[in-house]
Amino acid sequence: MTITPQNAQIGDMIPDHKFGPVTRKSLALYAGASGDHNPIHIDLDFAKKAGMDDVFAHGMLSMAQLGRLVTNFAGQANVRHLDTRFTALTPVGAIVDCTGEVTDRREEDGETLLTLKLAAHIDDGTQTLKGEAIIAV
């Protein structure tokens, strides 16, 4: 059975969402589209001078994927809250796998709210984002 906001119960996993692989082109485009021109994400010379081996992805490119995970499931108009903690860097080449688990379902002020525990993992198994969303059904 497909999990929808209407039938989702505590413990259910919502349909997952994958993005990537993250390329240098993705990071260049994200820098332009988001206005975040921090050179650590797009300029290898700067990244090396800062002590990094390579450029790494904007955290917000991955959070955008958590956003897509949640809006695909709930519809954007129903998303009340979205948060994340960035727990590890996302390297070039990574595939970002976003998942969400229903951890609460409650009635509040006459509407049904779901809490989703969100995660992003990259293909080597590292968790890169840890978050939460609250959606109205």
Binding site: Y30, G59, A64, G67, V70, H81
Partner: protein, 155 residues
């Protein structure tokens, strides 16, 4: 101790008005892989009942960045300059949104940042600047409240 300018705690930046643009929203949506045409095409958005192209959920950060760029063009410091952020050791720690309403292409919104405080976790190996960004619309009121933790790696 630390790099952030701690004297900016409590500082509230002057409101900056940003007008959302269709092409910029579509560019962002395409870049993050968003396929829903309500984020890409005005006709599709209107067919789905929206007044214009709908900004994706994390577009709030972009509106905040555009406000900072506009402030900088008017010789006011953007947020990172204000708090003395150092890009060589800067990491994004946390990001959170409380949504009060949608943002569309054509909307003019007001953006204000508040430096709510600083913390020094991991025995001072990290320092974190805590910032709240409020995006409001003149008629529709609050649109998004964003809170952000910006980290310096010190250790």
């Amino acid at each position: 101790m630390g790099i952030f300018d701690r004297s900016t705690e409590g500082h509230v930046t002057p409101p900056v008005e940003v007008t959302l643009e269709r092409g910029a929203i579509a560019f962002f949506a395409e870049t993050i892989g968003e396929a829903d045409p309500v984020h890409l095409d005005a006709d599709a958005a209107q067919a789905a009942g929206h007044p214009d192209v709908l900004a994706p959920a994390t577009y709030a950060v972009v509106v905040g960045t555009f406000a900072g760029q506009k402030a900088a063009r008017q010789d006011q410091p953007d947020l990172l300059t204000l708090i003395n952020g150092d890009l060589r050791v800067l990491l994004h720690g946390t990001e959170a949104y409380d949504y009060h309403g949608p943002m569309y292409a054509g909307d003019t919104v007001s953006v204000q940042n508040e430096v709510t405080g600083f913390s020094d976790p991991k025995g001072g190996k990290l320092e974190i600047a805590h910032v709240t960004t409020r995006i409001t619309h003149a008629e529709r009121g609050p649109i998004v409240t964003a809170t952000r933790g910006i980290i310096h790696r010190l250790g």
